[in-house]
């Protein structure tokens, strides 16, 4: 299988008045056709920036300072704007966190869907409406013909997120980037939406990058996982393995922090401290101030992402590579 998306040593900087900030510090991952990848990490780890940089849509003053993003072999960061627009919303689409905000409140759902189709295909209003109805049915919206004429405020949160997913599906994309798609929804609807993603990815051989801080969601939905910390990937591998036997202390901490059945009545575990802000990333391993296993070397030298026991597992920690 050819790689659908390859990200190599991607560096994203923000040019601020006080100097350059590095939001992404050389992250690499790849995704095959129909594969699902979870990007996990705390707030501010750079997950969303990674998502946006894939379609080269980082808001100013951010810019791609190094590395490459290859989508179907084409390098995204050097594509001219017109071609980039042909990819956005067509081959790669995004689903955002807050379904209340992502739809334009003054246009009907139908208008927005038809418009998205017509931005990428020469297609009549009627044909576009047919496709829209089709996609709405695919995301399990009842009586889609009637729903097309309604405005976003006439839908509930879960329904809106479905509509947004339907819009993302309109042009049969190769890759969906879902940026915390279920954070604003309650747990039962969250499960439905995630099931929907898995179902659609399987049906259409679509790649999915799921950006979230919710390990449980990633575990249930994705095949691969990349754990991010302070703009770097610290651990990467098949989801099952990473979650069942985490190697990096940060991943271990994250998993230990999940509520577990056998700990009923006791306090939840937590990783001490908070993630450093981008202006004050510690030297050496950026996690060492919070790490219980930190040694002297950790504060001096940045650990590289190297294979762990199994070939597909990558971990950035000195303790494992001695």
């Amino acid at each position: 299988m050819a790689a659908l998306l390859e990200v190599k040593d991607l560096v994203v900087n923000f040019a601020l008045r006080g100097g350059e900030l590095t939001a992404l510090n050389g992250i690499s991952f790849s995704l095959n056709q129909g594969e699902r990848l979870g990007l996990v990490g705390e707030s501010g780890a750079g997950k969303s920036v990674a998502g946006f940089s894939i379609i080269n849509l980082i808001s100013k003053p951010g810019y791609i300072a190094g590395g490459r993003v290859l989508f179907q072999g084409r390098e995204i960061s050097v594509l001219p704007f017109a071609q980039l627009r042909g990819i956005r919303g067509n081959l790669i689409t995004m689903v955002f966190q807050d379904p209340m905000m992502t739809l334009n409140p003054v246009l009907t759902v139908g208008t927005q869907m038809i418009e998205t189709l017509q931005a990428h295909q020469r297609i009549s209003d009627r044909d576009a409406a047919d496709i829209a109805v089709d996609k709405l049915r695919q995301v399990h919206i009842p009586s889609p013909e009637r729903r097309l004429e309604q405005y976003p405020h006439e839908f509930s949160g879960g329904m809106r997120q479905r509509i947004i997913i339907a819009i993302a599906l309109l042009n049969n994309p190769q890759l969906i980037i879902a940026d915390e798609p279920t954070t604003a929804l309650d747990v039962t609807i969250q499960a439905e939406i995630m099931d929907l993603f898995v179902e659609l990815c399987n049906q259409q051989e679509m790649g999915l990058i799921l950006i979230t801080h919710d390990l449980a969601v990633v575990y249930e939905t994705t095949e691969k996982i990349a754990v991010m910390y302070a703009g770097q990937i610290v651990e990467q591998g098949p989801t099952e393995e990473v979650v069942s036997s985490p190697m990096h202390p940060y991943t271990q901490g994250l998993i230990a922090a999940l509520p577990q059945g056998d700990q009923r009545g006791t306090r939840l575990n937590q990783i001490p401290g908070t993630m450093p802000t981008l202006t004050s990333i510690p030297a050496g391993c950026s996690f060492h101030p919070r790490c219980s296993q930190a040694r002297e070397i950790c504060s001096r030298q940045t650990p590289a992402l190297k294979p762990g026991q199994a070939r597909e597992r990558l971990v950035a920690c000195h303790m494992l590579h001695q």
Binding site: G86, N90, N104, P105, E115, T116, A119
Partner: protein, 306 residues
């Protein structure tokens, strides 16, 4: 069509309109005046533009309920002996026309400039906003006096009357565009941060489309409110310019030039030539302004009482 009507009658705007007596009265007033103005040739008893109706002998006839008044002229006649009521109705038509078209011009310029500077920002934004500041630092009276002096010298006072309407529209339209530009820019700045704009970008839409189809419709309520206020302002500006003799000529008077022409006779006792057009102007502007107030309250989500 039927659907849209039902949507309108179910809307909050209609709901609050039905409960707001001031809004209903001012809307009714405005509607009546508007209809009268545009049905002028059928409604008014005389045609003031017809030279046959100028009768110096009947000049300054008082209104019919006063001594010396006749049934023929309900509100009396002006200094040329034209029926005042007819002249007022025709004058109001000119005033409203100039007001509405001047606002359309303002809105066009202001929305285009406001959208561009709000959406693109940076140097373009600074350039347009400084231009707006410069424009606002000129009094529109000064600009109007200057341009009309040049025009009158160039084409002659007689022919100036023919181009007075477009002249007034352009002067008032140009003078007030910064109001729109600033309002639109402010809303665009607020709207463009919202996620639906990001989503539109992700969907691969171009900037033009995002600006006009996604952001602009979301900025409509302040534009609507501003428009009503600006119509009232434009009618007043027109009256002021005409009063100063820079606007409509006496042969085709607007409300402002009527007030002006009567002003010379006010101390000789013919108060009605000034007073009636003045009252009409006040009622017209007041009705539009009150409607604007209502719209502002009804469309402001912070004051949402529903």
């Amino acid at each position: 069509m039927k659907r849209q009507w039902r949507r309108f009658t179910g809307s909050y705007l209609w709901y609050s309109f039905k409960r707001d007596k001031v809004a209903m009265v001012s809307f009714a007033t405005f509607l009546i005046l508007f209809v009268c103005a545009f049905l002028a040739p059928w409604i008014s008893p005389y045609n003031p533009y017809d030279p046959a109706n100028i009768d110096i002998l009947a000049a300054e006839t008082p209104p019919m309920w006063m001594d010396g008044g006749t049934q023929e002229y309900i509100m009396g006649t002006d200094a040329q002996g034209r029926d005042l009521l007819s002249t007022m109705i025709y004058g109001m038509r000119i005033s409203i026309t100039i007001g509405v078209f001047a606002v359309l011009l303002q809105a066009f310029l202001g929305i285009v400039i406001g959208l561009i500077s709000g959406y693109f920002g940076g140097k373009l934004d600074s350039f347009f906003m400084r231009m707006a500041d410069v424009q606002l630092s000129f009094s529109y009276l000064m600009v109007a006096i200057f341009i009309s002096a040049v025009l009158q010298a160039a084409i002659g006072v007689g022919r100036f009357g023919e181009i007075a309407v477009p002249f007034l529209i352009i002067v008032i339209g140009l003078a007030q565009w910064p109001q729109y530009a600033r309002t639109v820019r402010a809303s665009v700045l607020a709207e463009k941060k919202k996620e639906y704009v990001e989503a539109a970008r992700v969907a691969g839409f171009n900037s033009q489309r995002i600006m006009w189809r996604h952001i602009l419709p979301n900025c409509m309520s302040p534009i609507l409110v501003l428009s009503t206020i600006q119509v009232a302002n434009a009618v007043m500006s027109e009256a002021a310019l005409s009063f100063l003799g820079l606007g409509m000529p006496v042969t085709r008077p607007s409300l402002g030039s009527l007030i002006n022409s009567g002003f010379e006779y006010i101390f000789s006792g013919s108060w009605w030539i000034t007073a009636f057009p003045g009252i009409l102007l006040v009622v017209l502007v007041l009705a539009v302004n009150l409607l604007g107030d209502f719209l502002r309250d009804a469309l402001n989500p912070k004051l949402y009482k529903g």
